[in-house]
Structures are given as C-alpha cells and as structure tokens.
C-alpha cells in the first residue's frame, strides 16, 4: 500500500512536470528517463539488459534504413538475437528441468543443478516491440526516428509490464503531435485507471479468493454452482487482465498517449475466431502479422493455411507459459479455429447451412456456445488435469 502511495505521488508529480514545466522538445527524453527509472525499481540489471537490446536494434535499423546490400542479413541476425534471448529466458528452465528429469532414472548420471533464470519483467512485450520495429523498418514502413523516441516507444513505462504492444507508427505519431495538456484526455485517463483498479483489485481478486479454492473441491458444491464457478473463473481472468490494461491505458492517457485497446467485449462474440480477434488484441494481432502471415499466409495451399491457424494458436498459448496446460489450450483452440473455418467453407457450399445460420436464434445461441467453449478451456489457467477432470465429472455426471 505504501508503494502504491509513492507511485501515485510520483505519477502526479511527473504529470505536472511533463505538461507544465518541460518544453515540448524535452518531453520524450523525460518520459524515456522515467521509464528507465521505473524499470530500475524492479532490478537495475534489467535497464542495462534492455538498453543493450534497444541499442542493437536501433543500430541495425539505421543500417537497414540506409538500404545497404546486406539489409536482409542484418534483419535476420537481429531477429535471431531477439527471439533467441526470449526463448532462452522463457524456456531454458523447462529445457534444463526436462534434461535433469530424463536423467534422474539413471544412477550413473551425476546429479546436476542448473541455476534458475529469472525472466526479466516485461521482456516478451519489449521483444515484440523490437521485432515489430525491425521488420517494419525493413519493409520501409517506418520513418527514421531519434534514439530517444525509439527507446521511449519500447520502454514506455505505463505499458512496460504487460502491454498492450502498441505499433510504432501510431505511437510515434502521437509523440510528434503532442502539444498542450488536454483536459478531456486526463479525465478519460483517470476514469480508465479507476475502472481498472475496480476490475482488477476489487472484483477479480474477490472472485479469485472465492472461486479458485472451490474449483479444487468440486465434489463439495452443487453441480449448478460448480458450473457458475467455471464461468466466474473465465470472467475473473478477463477482469484481471483487462483491468490491468485499463490502468495501463489510463496512465498513458495522462501523458497524452492513446494506446491501442487490448479487449473488445470478447465474451459477446459469436465464434471462437471472433473471440480471439477481440481478446488480447495487441499480441494476437502481432502473432498474426509476424508469424502467421509470413510463414503460412503467402500463396499457401488450404492445408497449409489450416496448419498455420493451428500452429499460430499453439504458439500463442505456449508464449504464455511452456507447460502441458498451455499446450493443451493451444491445441483445443487451434482445433476450434480450424473447425470454425471448415464450417465457413460449408456455409459457402451449402445454401441450407447458410440459411440456418441466418435464423434469428442463431446469434444468441452462438454467443452462449462460444462463451461455454472458452470458459471450460480457461480452467487450464487454474487447474491441473486431474482437478479439471473432477470439475467436468461434477458438472456432467
């Protein structure tokens, strides 16, 4: 609570300095330094580590921008460096523990312990922004910008911890156009912060305290209540994450930045494809643009496209965490997306199916079905497989 108090005091102070004391040309540098300070509060090593990445990508982008011969090679090296770093920190623990476990049955293999690597906070989001920047510079879609403006985009402290992953063009345009303080922006920002605090720290936390223990003992509760817990658990994930996003967007607004939305009524969508287009929008669209389209979307056969849809979802889930639960979530939703696309094909081929899908009751039924399809799968965020099985048995037996 004391930390929150000091965060709010320093936030108010920095907003005052940002809008009323600093001339416009110093604002980017001020926010960049604020972001470095914010990151250093977690760990000073993160600042050095992220600055190294930013400097390397900026130098690479300067080279690529000059249109020199080996620009494709430089882009490839930059991408390998970024993806390699992300994979190393995110999955090396899993990799090493698998090696140790697979050797544990053999007494002649000496016991080895690997040091635990701590994933630097916000690293995935920073790497996503850097990859986006490098690729767009290569495509010549991004104008040359100063190192400070680029660094600010990558480390912008309101969105540093968990996104959204804004696109450089939109962010940079706002940096360039920033003029006077805008009262309506500040009002909107404050509203989003209050909304986010209420969603995350009041409703989501309350639901978590109540629902998660209950899901571990489904046999002690009536069937109907267990079903409500399943829905509540999915809604809790949404409130927790969208509440965080509201706060991030709200703080950004206080500094005059309108960052892209991450959620758009995901539980009111008519199919699983629409659901994912409206859930964690910034990262899902990032994976679509920088994984699905380049690897599976260019002059591809239908089979390759379906494989791409499936693989994109598996990758998206494994990005959250490299474990069995998220692999299963990826497979489940990947198959869901493929089946949905096959249904679309059938609608094109068979007018009777198309006619049926246009009936008035179809939309509400589709929304309820999608909500159930998603809610059941989101149990994998909380439960291991035996507990998940126990919940399903309680509901359906």
């Amino acid at each position: 609570m004391e930390n929150l108090f000091w965060y709010l005091v320093s936030l108010c102070l920095s907003i005052f300095i940002y809008w009323f004391i600093l001339p416009r040309k110093w604002r980017s540098l001020f926010l960049f330094l604020m972001s470095l300070l914010f990151i250093s509060l977690f760990n000073i090593k993160y600042v050095l580590y992220f600055l190294l990445h930013i400097i390397l990508v900026y130098l690479a982008s300067l080279y690529i921008n000059q249109g020199k011969k080996k620009r494709r090679l430089i882009l490839t090296l930059a991408l390998l460096w970024l993806i390699g770093n992300l994979c190393f920190f995110k999955y090396s623990d899993l990799f090493f523990s698998t090696i140790v476990e697979s050797g544990s049955g053999f007494s002649w293999i000496p016991k080895i312990t690997f040091p635990t690597l701590l994933l630097p906070l916000g690293m995935s989001y920073i790497i996503f922004r850097l990859i986006h920047f490098a690729v767009e510079v290569y495509k010549k879609k991004i104008p040359q910008s100063s190192f400070i403006d680029f660094g600010l985009y990558v480390l912008f402290f309101p969105t540093f911890l968990a996104g959204p992953v804004e696109r450089f063009q939109r962010f940079h345009a706002q940096t360039m156009e920033m003029t006077a303080p805008d009262l309506s922006s500040i009002n909107q920002g404050l509203f989003r912060i209050i909304l986010g605090v209420a969603k995350k720290f009041i409703v989501a936390d309350y639901l978590a305290r109540w629902i998660i223990p209950a899901l571990h003992t489904p046999e002690s509760h009536p069937r109907f209540l267990v079903l409500l817990f399943v829905y509540g658990a999915a809604i809790r994930i949404y409130l927790d994450f969208s509440g965080y996003t509201d706060m991030a967007l709200g703080v950004s607004r206080l500094f005059g930045y309108k960052i892209m939305e991450n959620f758009n009524r995901p539980f009111f969508q008519r199919n699983v494809a629409q659901f994912w287009r409206n859930w964690h929008i910034s990262v899902y669209s990032w994976i679509r643009d920088y994984f699905f389209f380049p690897f599976f979307g260019y002059r591809a056969s239908t089979l390759k496209i379906y494989l791409g849809i499936f693989m994109t979802m598996v990758l998206f889930m494994l990005w959250h965490k490299g474990n069995l639960n998220f692999l299963l979530l990826g497979i489940y939703h990947g198959l869901g997306l493929v089946v949905w696309q096959l249904f679309q094909e059938m609608k094109r081929k068979y007018p009777s199916i198309r006619k049926w899908s246009l009936r008035p009751y179809f939309n509400p039924v589709a929304i309820i079905f999608t909500f159930n399809f998603v809610s059941v799968s989101f149990l994998l965020f909380y439960l291991d497989l035996p507990h998940l099985y126990a919940v399903l048995v309680r509901i359906f037996s």
Partner: protein, 85 residues
C-alpha cells in the same frame, strides 16, 4: 490489367459472395476486419483472388491488414498496378 472501376466491382462481388454470402451489399469504406467480414484466412483468399484474376503480384511485405481494411484501401494498394479507367 483491366480498368480500376471493373477491378473494384469484381473484388466487391467476390467479397459479397464469399464473405457476406450475397445477403447484403458492401460499402467502399466499410472496414472489412473490424466488422468481422474478413479474417486472416479471408485476407489470404482475397489476395489469391486478386492475383489470379487480375494478373498482378502482391508482395509479401504488402500483406497487412492496413492495406486491405476497406475496399478503398485495396484499390489504393493496387493503384500503381491498374489502369485508372
């Protein structure tokens, strides 16, 4: 390649038939992605249709939502490769 107006009409018909199932018309500035008319797979199909029917090549770097978000965006992307008539 044939004239711009023809191309626009053919692309519009393709979208209406394949993604709106002939149920309604499409406005030139209607967002295809935000309104859910087209998704990623739809974009790939649209690009394949354009390449096959109008003898143009779309570069991989051009495959992004912003370039195909409305019918007008599609025409803007193809601008340099079609006759203005």
């Amino acid at each position: 390649m044939e004239g711009g107006h023809n191309v626009k009409e053919k692309i519009k018909n393709f979208i209406v038939e394949n993604f709106l199932f002939g149920e309604r018309t499409l406005k030139d500035d209607e967002p295809l992605f935000e309104s859910g008319i087209i998704d990623s797979l739809g974009l790939i199909k649209l690009i394949a249709f354009i390449e096959e029917n109008f003898n143009v090549s779309i570069d991989m770097s051009e495959i992004m939502i912003e370039n195909f978000n409305t019918l007008n965006d599609v025409m803007e992307t193809l601008k340099s490769r079609i006759n203005p008539s």
